[in-house]
């Protein structure tokens, strides 16, 4: 079985795509649950931060996820409030991918998440937050 046909097998129906997405999320949540990225040496470190000492706009994403899956949403927000906007945005991509091909649901989601204002809004918020957090030291 080639990789391509395996991928098609895994993604050919909404139920199977749902299983794939849930498996990915559960795997990520498990990793974040068992390891504390704030203290574990195994957690990948951002090269940009190591070199410059500046925080990326997404810096804190692992601690954010760890706090979230261990049931501390407020603490998670303290690590990076910007991610509270990103998580639903990324989840919308997953939801769209799961939905039946050719259905109206995909189009409705696409109309929102791929709207030029949404994309540019993301970029502007991303850049502004990256500057603000380093200037203010948030």
């Amino acid at each position: 079985m080639t990789l391509r046909s395996l991928t098609e097998q895994l993604t050919c129906s909404p139920l199977r795509r749902l299983i794939v997405v849930v498996a990915i999320l559960v795997a990520a949540a498990t990793l974040l649950y068992i390891g504390d990225p704030g203290h574990s040496p195994w957690a990948p470190k951002c090269p940009f931060w190591l070199l410059t000492g500046w925080q990326c706009p997404a810096c804190g994403i692992q601690r954010f996820g760890h706090a979230l899956v261990t049931g501390h949403p407020v603490e998670a927000l303290g690590y990076n409030p910007f991610l509270a906007l990103v998580v639903p945005y990324v989840l919308a991509f997953f939801v769209r991918w799961v939905l039946p091909r050719g259905g109206k649901g995909r189009w409705r989601i696409t109309r929102v998440i791929e709207h030029p204002a949404m994309i540019w809004g993301y970029i502007v918020v991303f850049v502004v937050w990256g500057v603000v957090r380093n200037v203010l030291g948030v």
């Binding site: 990326c56 091909r101 791929e114």
Partner: protein
């Protein structure tokens, strides 16, 4: 002379394979009628080329309100087939009416990959890839499908480059960490032997 799309009556430049407005393929969707006639002539006579399932929603989006009956009779030819079986990750096919997203014409603009890249600490490259993914949609809306595909490929290429840079840095850092740890251990070991 230029032709007109039989589906929506938009003038079609000769070099386009799909209608820039509604995405109907030229092979089933063009004629030389004037757009004004087209509204009357084509609606019921040739239902086989109601090309997209998504017309119901496209109608809601306001462009072609006079097409309701025609859409109901459409044959729902899928973009999957037209695009040679290319099924993009995010876009699916025929998910959105053409004109809003490149997914409707079977091009995956790799926007999710670009967003992921911005979250992987490769900020400028990720932002550039997002802009490229947006350009892909713009080109698709204009009917410039080659340019849309090129923008989508660029978005994918730069996202992967950005993610690759970060992953390589992680690996280098991990190796550095291991080597440092090993040398500390061995130094500690030789120091212990001294006692």
């Amino acid at each position: 002379m230029s032709t007109y799309c039989n589906q929506c009556g938009t003038p079609m430049p000769d070099n386009l394979a799909y209608c820039p407005n509604c995405g109907t393929p030229r092979s089933v969707g063009t004629g030389t009628q004037q757009p004004a006639d087209n509204y009357q002539q084509t609606s019921y006579e040739q239902p086989a080329y109601g090309a997209q399932q998504s017309y119901g929603t496209q109608q809601a989006y306001g462009a072609q309100q006079s097409y309701g009956a025609q859409q109901a009779g459409g044959a729902q030819q899928t973009y999957d087939q037209q695009a040679g079986g290319y099924t993009p990750f995010g876009g699916g096919t025929q998910t959105a009416p053409p004109g809003y997203s490149s997914g409707a014409i079977g091009i995956n603009n790799n926007l999710l990959l670009a967003v992921f890249c911005t979250l992987c600490c490769c900020n400028p490259i990720g932002v550039y890839a997002m802009i490229k993914a947006n350009s892909c949609n713009i080109y698709a809306r204009m009917g410039a499908f080659d340019d849309a595909q090129k923008a989508a490929d660029d978005a994918k290429k730069w996202s992967l480059i950005g993610i690759g840079i970060v992953v390589v840095c992680w690996l280098l850092y991990g190796m550095f960490y291991l080597i440092l740890g090993a040398s500390i251990l061995s130094a500690f070991g030789s120091a212990m032997r001294g006692f």
